[in-house]
Symmetry: C2
Subunit: 323 residues, 2 copies
């Protein structure tokens, strides 16, 4: 067992609210690890949240997400905004899958009090990566960050879940990666509010833009927004102000239409479902069996001695969760 | 509500056991959609499972997973084995993100009774994609398939969870995709039992093989297995027999060391946890609130009127799930 965080919750809350990087780091870790007192921490931070703008940035490996996140962070910092970055991309330099050059580039932010960068483990996070990312965003929000960039790889349900936390989602594409049109079809398109064609200085960018506009022209969104396509060269910063302007336009659109609250309600509904799942599991395990008994049950199922649904039924009953 | 599947469970079980493709398809859909009677279906199919060999095939988009799955399926068919394919890759031709050529190529299997191909939706599957994939594998197992190929994109927790269902995991790499070494570092390496360098007729294949062997030489596995590296040109079928031989060697290794049962126990433990989560959630929602009340709670949280953990606590209490 880890030491209870309860006793120091008040000072941790104070530290987070003062945007102390160490307090922010400790708070995120406490939530990530489900430390005792984590719940109390969320309860005390929660009233100080709701102001940050969450910007999700997603795209396949190799599209240059991290360079763009880096440039966007610098752009918002230059406007005097406080910026948080949550990098959940295993290929991101933020998370340590780094090329040395990228690491060095990020050092420019390391001494900048207005930016806080947090990389998330991509495996084995209790309660799932989306929950952990949501909690980290909550801490950064309470710490007074104006903009929180959430960077993920745009493949897989897990990443889609993370992106759904965001107020605006930016999808990066690069001409010539080959599977662009395929990923359009796979429904990744629907999650994006703004499209970026990065590395616009090479590849057949015009053709990709054309294809993209055809596909976009065929779809109609419930929020009446027509997702713009912005061209960037992230490594040089080209197109970054235009991207920021497109994001602002979307923000104005959803706020004007009263849709931001609607999105947040949907987001919280998903998160409440996740929380119920995790809490209920914890309690079923505690009440009925514990991990040892579970392993014994798994052994019986693996040997074909018992069927899985029968086992689960028994465990739920023992915990008082009846059908 | 969907019509109860209960009345026809017996005939569905018979159909699955007779490897009737329509019965297999209906059974998988029934489990995917949590239809009434789905639980009974699993209970009746379960005693007929445990014989199939599950082969997970994963890799980044563009590595040629689907071509290789196609070739492997043909290889096993030529040996007289019955083959099931579960494609959960949104970029896979199996799942519809298809290039016409790939679709046509797959037609060769369409009239072959020994192969059954199922593509999985990649979003919005109740209880998660890993659970749905596991259930589909269970149906194919009960239908007497000797080998079940599970094809996923090798990025994201969701895909890692799916791969963990498999008895053997094959990871595809391609020279020159740029982020190979990065993905090694991100821990994707650890999930692979056999490595394939596909498209070995182009790119700097030797260098990639060299890098791979260096990284592999640094790690030591608990099961004492040294993952081999196989070179293939999937589009031409080159290296496919060698890959099948490497898979067989791994299979012999884990069976010889008594590790197959251990892997299956671990897999069932994960699946039991997933099942408990989902069942408990269903019951909490049913007992305490239902979806409407949940939306109202989400609204309160989104407006900052209540904190999320307080809401969840109340919902769990109302369902009798106490801390």
């Amino acid at each position: 067992m880890k030491k209870p965080a309860g006793a120091s919750t008040a000072s941790l809350v104070d530290g987070v609210r003062a945007a102390d990087p160490r307090a922010i780091g400790r708070a995120i870790s406490a939530l990530e690890d489900h430390e005792p007192g984590a719940e109390q921490l969320v309860r005390e931070l929660f009233p100080h949240t709701g102001k940050a703008f969450l910007l999700g940035l997603t795209g396949a490996p190799g599209t240059g997400k991290s360079s763009l996140a880096n440039r966007l962070a610098a752009h918002y910092r230059a406007q005097g905004k406080r910026v948080g970055v949550i990098a959940v991309d295993p290929t991101s330099p933020f998370t340590g899958g780094a090329l040395l050059g990228d690491r060095i580039r990020m050092q420019q932010h390391a001494t900048d009090d207005g930016i806080y960068i947090r990389s998330m483990a991509t495996r084995g996070v209790l309660g799932g990566l989306a929950r952990a990312t949501g909690d980290a965003a909550l801490v950064l929000d309470a710490a007074g960050k104006d903009v929180i960039l959430i960077e993920t790889v745009g493949v897989g349900q897990d990443e889609v879940d993370i992106v759904r936390l965001a107020d605006v989602t930016v999808l990066l594409l690069v001409a010539g990666l080959g599977d662009d049109v395929q990923s359009f079809k796979a429904g990744v398109m629907e999650i994006a509010d703004v499209f970026v064609i990065n590395k616009a200085d090479r590849g057949d960018t015009d053709r990709l833009e054309q294809e993209l506009k055809v596909v976009l022209g065929l779809s109609r969104r419930a929020d009446q927004w027509e997702p713009p396509v912005v061209k960037t060269v992230a490594t040089e910063g080209t197109g970054v102000p235009e991207l920021a302007a497109a994001v602002d336009a979307y923000r104005a659109h959803i706020e004007g239409a009263g849709l931001r609250e609607q999105k947040r309600i949907e987001r919280w509904q998903d998160r409440l479902l996740d929380l119920i799942r995790e809490r209920a599991l914890e309690r079923v395990l505690k009440a009925s069996v514990g991990k040892d008994k579970l392993a014994a049950c798994a052994r019986q199922v693996a040997r074909g001695e018992r069927d899985p649904y029968g086992v689960v039924e028994e465990l739920l009953k023992a915990a008082g969760v009846n059908g």
